[in-house]
Amino acid sequence: MTKWGRRAATFRDLVAEAGKATFDSNPNIKPANVKSFIISTVYPERSAYQGHPAPLAAEWCGVRPEEFHCRVENQCGSGTTAIRTAYAAIKAGLTDMVMIVGAEKILIPSHQEVFLNAMAGCDREWESCFGVTPPPLFAMVAQAHMKSYGTTEEQLALVSVKNHDHSRHNPFAHHQKGATLDQVMSSRPIATPLKLFDCSTNTDGAAGVIVAKEDLARDLCDKPIYILGTAQINQGYPWANYHKDWSSWPALKTAGEKAYSMAGIAPEDVDLAEVHDCFTISEIMEYEELGFCPKGEGGPFVENRLSDYGGRVVVNPSGGLIACGHPFGATGIRQAYEAFVQLRGEAGARQVPGARIALTHNLSGLGEHHILIYGRD
């Protein structure tokens, strides 16, 4: 992990920092041993005026890939998609080990351009040209959920309070000071009912992870983490063409069931979940669709602290996108990092006691989801 936040660093600085942090975390792996490399990044063409980032990023990490290399882009789900791509390449026998770096430079000098860039991630010709970006879209999810299930603005805010509380113990997070319910509720309105603290943060950051074949992973480290299950789905695009009822996300339910089935586990077996809380309402939807609570009860679930330490499943022990920040291409890799340190028992003050199974989830739209399930054993 690099430090995440408003960084005095370029896109390639972030890549190099993540590369060093990845190699520093395992002295058995040197750049010369790495034959495959993936960069997960969404819009370096916009924020760094740099296309073709895979060979560039590899070079900045000291890697000359000779078996497999590419850039992976799937908007906010890029990181999880990159890990799936590495998994597929290894399963296909193209390579034994892949280094993945996720990196995004978001905070460029013109603040307005940050939102201009965000437009490129929706359907530019049919939706973004109206100025549509994620905040109003997720605000309408919240409107639909409040109408169908009586979810309150305070319940939304409690997701933010919890995640800001968790990130107090995460040295890489953008925000580490915590936030009170009053601070969240009185923060600046963005798109009704969402307020500033209901939203993930515009953040620079990068993270790295190495995926290897099972026997090789055992040789290279003491505590390998295993991919137990994974799933991915996309049901429709642009946003107007997702399912009609925005208070449910049937695509996520389907993907979750597939991932659980592949892993041979049930939602109750998950000890911690790093889920895509791009907005507070997203995390509430994810509790429901991933089966952590019955449909419609996501609001009471957070209110009763069932997604916190001592509850049914610890959701976003890292602080999530809301408190760590959300450099798009890096987020899924950061989630993997959190799953790894938790399952290895190395998460310090934010350790989930006895964590054996972790789920990570990215989304790139209401009908587009990417899931990985990791196990310690």
């Binding site: 307005q112 040209c129 879209l137 009704t192 009912p193």
Partner: protein, 150 residues
């Protein structure tokens, strides 16, 4: 030195632009140009497959259901209904000055469109309200389709 300055000026020249968010709308740039021609006549249209009858949104050049490229232009119903909306008061992209009302608008042809609701006091907008098309001009002789309360 002069050459370097000229090069720098070239890079920021007003003739060098990209990522203008408004779609290209003319026959020399876009095969979907009839949509924009219709819009300029105050008609909101999309494509219906002449072979399987599927009505698509956004309009297509190939039917996503049957891969036919025999498509006809059909009009939307005049009135749509707001399914959900939000009033965005911050974090809008350049050129979209808050407050902006965004809505999901349902039509009885089964299609849904996301668009701003303009010419209104945001406090007047409510789920279930009826809306009609409002064509607005965009730079370089182009148009965009917004909606207003009926």
């Amino acid at each position: 030195m002069k050459e370097l300055e000229d090069a720098a000026n070239y890079i920021v020249s007003p003739d060098v632009y990209s990522l203008d968010p408004v779609p290209l709308q003319t026959p020399d740039q876009n095969r979907i140009y009839p949509f924009y021609d219709n819009l300029k006549q105050n008609r909101l249209t999309t494509t219906k497959c002449a072979d399987c009858g599927h009505i698509a949104w956004p309009p297509r050049i190939v039917c996503p259901k049957c891969m036919s490229d025999r498509l006809d232009w059909v009009d939307f119903p005049e009135t749509g209904q707001i399914y959900a909306f939000t009033v965005q008061t911050a974090a809008t992209p350049p050129g979209f000055n808050p407050p902006v009302v965004y809505a999901l608008i349902d039509f009885d042809n089964g299609l849904r469109i996301i668009s701003p609701i303009v010419d209104c006091d945001p406090a007047q907008v409510e789920a279930g309200a009826q809306v009609v098309l409002k064509v607005v001009p965009a730079p370089r002789d182009r148009v965009l389709f917004f909606f207003r309360l009926k």
